[in-house]
């Protein structure tokens, strides 16, 4: 009798041991391995791009690959990434310059001035617009924006330059509509909602006391914003802009549809160009030579490194500026 009870209790104990201790162990191991798989994914991405691209980097040399502007997949099989690097940097910087002030203006308007219902509507709209797929913006660009810009802006400016100042022509480039200017403007339109949302979040985090103190000194609403709100929120605003810049760098479809995809120098304002994502999209499906594929992967690697730097920089800014924000007015 006693023996049976003893066995029974052992059995029960071991069952609860399995249930509690082993269950926890298995759960933890599962969870941690899923977490580790994300780490592996991020590291694996870098490794895959390096592994697939190293043939090209070996043939051209890292410096040679980055600084050569020759991209010839057909005859000479020489590949250099400079035109795409340049195209990406110019379009992204241009887009950020165009988008920065309007985006902040919208954020300030909905956070500070607009009545609550209107602010809510606009904010929801901003979030919705940020979710519009890039191909949809691209198809609008192809059939509506580009023809319109060609008729209304590019060709008149080009004809004007032709008649009055022909030294401008090589800078302006061919006004076919598809090109650097169109891609930059569309890119700016696409990152505005993103920048606005992040700026709004930063402004929302400014403490009420900060505003009230400025009001108490007799400041007008605009002076409150300028002296109390924006200095405090500037860390978030800066980080948001850097993240938007990262968005612009990686933006693929709309740019590939509108930039005209011309793979070499020289660069012109209206004329066709290419960015790193656009060249990968356009040539990857058709690439047959191993060196060509490898060069496209190497461009992916360059894109990876640039995005990594931009993201880490944004994280650094958030950490550095957000706590001390507003102290150095």
């Amino acid at each position: 009798m006693q023996k049976r009870e003893f066995v029974n209790s052992i059995y029960k104990k071991s069952l609860s041991l399995i249930y509690n201790w082993l269950g926890d162990k298995i759960f933890l191991i599962t969870i941690v391995s899923l977490g580790i798989s994300i780490i592996l994914l991020a590291l694996g991405m870098a490794w895959v791009l390096l592994y697939e691209g190293h043939t090209s980097l070996k043939v051209h040399g890292v410096i040679g690959f980055l600084t050569s502007s020759e991209w010839d997949p057909a005859v000479k099989l020489r590949f250099g990434s400079l035109p795409f690097l340049f195209g990406t940097v110019v379009t992204s910087v241009g887009a950020l310059v165009i988008a920065f002030f309007p985006a902040i203006a919208i954020a300030i308007f909905i956070a500070e001035y607009a009545p609550k219902w209107l602010g809510n509507i606009i904010e929801n709209m901003v979030h919705l617009i940020a979710a519009i797929p890039s191909v949809v913006v691209g198809i609008w660009g192809i059939f509506v924006f580009v023809p319109w810009m060609r008729e209304v802006v590019y060709q008149p400016v080009y004809t004007w330059a032709l008649e009055n100042n022909s030294s401008l022509l090589p800078i302006l480039g061919n006004p076919i509509g598809y090109g650097m200017a169109s891609a930059t403007i569309i890119l700016a339109l696409m990152i505005i909602p993103f920048t606005t949302a992040l700026t709004k979040d930063a402004i929302d985090q400014v403490p009420k006391e900060q505003r009230e103190a400025a009001y108490a000194l007799g400041a007008t609403h605009w002076e409150v914003i300028r002296m109390a709100v924006t200095p405090y929120a500037r860390g978030g605003i800066m980080a948001g802009s850097v993240l938007s810049f990262g968005r612009a760098i990686g933006e693929t479809m709309a740019v590939a549809m509108l930039i005209g995809n011309k793979n070499n120098f020289p660069f012109t304002i209206f004329g066709p160009a290419a960015t790193m994502p656009s060249v990968i999209i356009n040539e990857f499906r058709e690439a047959v030579e191993n060196l060509h594929l490898s060069s496209l992967m190497a461009i992916g690697l360059v894109l990876f490194v640039i995005s990594l730097i931009v993201n880490l920089f944004a994280a650094y800014i958030t950490r550095k500026l957000s706590i001390t924000g507003g102290q150095s007015i």
Binding site: V32, S37, A42, A105, F109, P133, V135, L189, S307
Partner: protein
Amino acid sequence: MCSYKKTEKSLLQRKIHDKFMVALLMISTIVVMTPLIIIVGYVVYNGIGAINADFFTQELGSPTRAIQGRPTGLVHTMVGTAVVDLLALIISAPVGIGAGIMLSEYPDHKLNPFLRIMNDTLNGMPAILKGLLAFAVIVKPMGSFSGLAGGVALAFVMIPIIARSTESALMNIPWSIREAGLAIGLPRWRVVLSTVIPAARTGLVTGFLIAFARAAGEAAPLLFTSFGNNYLPNHWTGMIFGPVDTLPQRLYSLAISPYKEWHSMGWAAGIVLLSFVIILFVISRLLTKQKH
């Protein structure tokens, strides 16, 4: 204190300046929002004509089919999109939720800071690089473009978003709920699975929807993973192991094609894609609102 120099202006001047800035902000809001609304308007206006019964029931086929006016449509694209997106959801959900649980329920784990950095890095990477990764990991060893590769590529897009949203959804659950579970003798895994996750399910679903909406609109990673296909595959396995059509990628192909008939189908595909994203967006907004 240099900013006080400007306030030597009279009160009236300052108030005028204030009003001027309000006007400026309002104008720039209107100027920027207008083209963005116009985009939606144009997509609907141009695409609505091409939406008919054929559009949802016929295959695309070769361009001559559209030029000769025979019935064409995008049924294979919609089926393909559903398959690829579901695959992506099935692959990404466990990984994303797992990492989210690790970040929120085991806050002292040594790997967490590193995991957080890596997750943010992955999230910040352009989608096209995730496509290249899926190409190297799935397409190359398998030897062909496939719906599975497309699903994996989209899963790479969704995983970091789901991990992040799961973490914040679980963090919103007060610690007292976990302590209550532990106090009645539940092991930790039961506390997480039976109390924390059910309590946070609205937040989890919202995160899924946001990730799903983001992935559903991505074309870049699909162009060289699921590749595209003008026809329905003969057998259902062709959806997973053969080249598959998806909406964003088909929209891109239609838009850059030289055929006028295909252009209007591209606009129509834009309507479908846009309404899909908008529906997901609205549901996620409503869920968030309900929670507060």
